[in-house]
């Protein structure tokens, strides 16, 4: 007789993460941050990182870090910026400035940082990824909107389209560059060849206009999210898309063009939807069609209104975002597998 798994256990298996609020209260007012990005890198002194500005949204040189996502410390970056998204090549973490700037910073141990000039002309750098060969930085710059570097130190800038909001990569061939800074568009850009060659990029027409915040890929499927929409789009090839209704609306932190960054993790997509204090919930899906409730953020004691970045470790993820009450205690949430 085959071993049968009771339906109740099957239902429980779908919900992969347990969630709780992260407390930075031990850091006092230093823990009072407006997070714009996050990152995970297995470095000697730090693994989980939260980046952003101070509680009033003012540029800061402070970031938060932890080796276990439970005990947190504050560290110092080379300059006061609105620090945002980050990416790692496994031995180096690079973080970019989200406010108009030319510089980013990198670290090899998690606590000692070096400034690096990424752009020639100041612009907001909204996204960064490591594709296995190079870092790619997206900027809202009309003429130098994609910067690339193999080491995070020396950068080359190219113009692949309109000012950019995000970049996604399927891990093997396709890159998608999201557009729609300031005004909705149906036109994004894509390539299945070397992304550092301008001529390799071509238009990708999405089946809706939007400000395309994120293109995520996992479980052989892309998920595209645009601002202030209850409709997302999924694709198995990156060129033909199907509309899918989200449980509720995406939050648009339009003042900062960061908004509501989802997470592709361990074969599932995670998105925080709702957008108002007391009304934000994290949902997950393996197919972008059926969504499971992971956690209502108020239920785990946070005041988050949006999650702007995720530090995704091997079995623990930390979502960092905007704490409506700016009390320093509830700007992040941790999920454990």
């Amino acid at each position: 007789m085959a071993n049968l798994i009771p339906l109740g256990i099957l239902a429980a298996i779908k919900k992969l993460l347990s969630w709780s609020a992260v407390s930075f209260s031990g850091l006092g007012t230093t823990g009072d941050r407006t997070f714009r990005g996050a990152g995970y890198a297995d470095l000697a002194n730090a693994k989980y990182f939260g980046f952003g500005a101070n509680s009033g949204g003012v540029a800061s040189n402070v970031y938060l870090y932890s080796t276990d996502a439970a005990s947190w410390s504050s560290g110092t970056l080379p300059a006061s910026k609105t620090w945002g998204k980050s990416a790692t090549n496994g031995t180096r973490l690079v973080v970019v400035s989200q406010s108009s700037d030319t510089v980013g910073a990198y670290t090899d141990n998690g606590t000692t940082w070096t400034s690096t000039t990424i752009l020639g002309t100041a612009a907001n750098m909204y996204d960064i990824l490591w594709d296995g060969t190079r870092f790619l930085v997206v900027a809202n710059n009309a003429s130098a909107n994609l910067a690339h570097s193999t080491d995070g130190v020396t950068w080359t800038r190219i113009d692949i389209g309109d000012p950019g909001l995000c970049i996604g990569y399927d891990g093997s061939s396709r890159y998608i560059y999201g557009q729609g800074v300031g005004a909705a568009t149906a036109t994004c850009r894509t390539t299945t060849s070397n992304p550092t060659v301008v001529g390799n990029w071509s238009n990708l027409t999405m089946p809706a206009t939007g400000r395309w915040l994120q293109f995520m890929y996992t479980n052989n499927r892309w998920l595209a999210i645009s601002a202030t929409s209850t409709t997302a789009y999924y694709s198995d090839n990156g060129t033909t898309w199907t509309a899918t209704t989200l449980p509720t609306s995406i939050t648009d932190d339009s003042a900062n063009e960061t908004s509501a960054r989802g997470l592709a993790y361990n074969g599932r997509f995670y998105v925080a939807l709702g957008g108002a204090t007391g009304n934000v919930t994290i949902y997950s899906s393996s197919d972008t069609i059926t969504w499971d409730t992971e956690a209502a953020l108020t239920g785990v004691g946070t005041d988050l209104t949006v999650i702007n970045g995720w530090a995704a470790g091997p079995s623990t993820v930390v979502g960092f975002g905007l704490d409506d009450t700016a009390d320093g205690s509830n700007g992040a949430i941790v999920g454990i597998r």
């Binding site: 149906a186 027409t205 089946p207 809706a208 206009t209 090839n237 060129t239 199907t242 509309a243 209704t245």
Partner: protein, 63 residues
């Protein structure tokens, strides 16, 4: 921009690529098309949205 309805799905096409930019086998909320007219009504609203980005009225479900 144009669409076709075949095999109970809406296929949307743009001048920019040969393959469809849209494949919609049901309402975005997962509910099935009631019939071809139901799919056509949704597709017409989609086309209107693509022609005018300010027109964001195309429904995600029948209700």
């Amino acid at each position: 921009m144009r669409y076709e309805i075949k095999d109970n799905a809406v296929y949307g096409y743009a001048p920019t690529q040969v393959e469809p930019i849209l494949y919609q086998p049901n309402h975005p909320d997962g509910s099935a098309w009631a019939n071809d007219d139901d799919a056509k009504a949704w597709a017409d609203a989609w086309l209107a949205h693509m022609a005018d980005p300010e027109n964001n009225a195309f429904p995600s479900s029948r209700s």
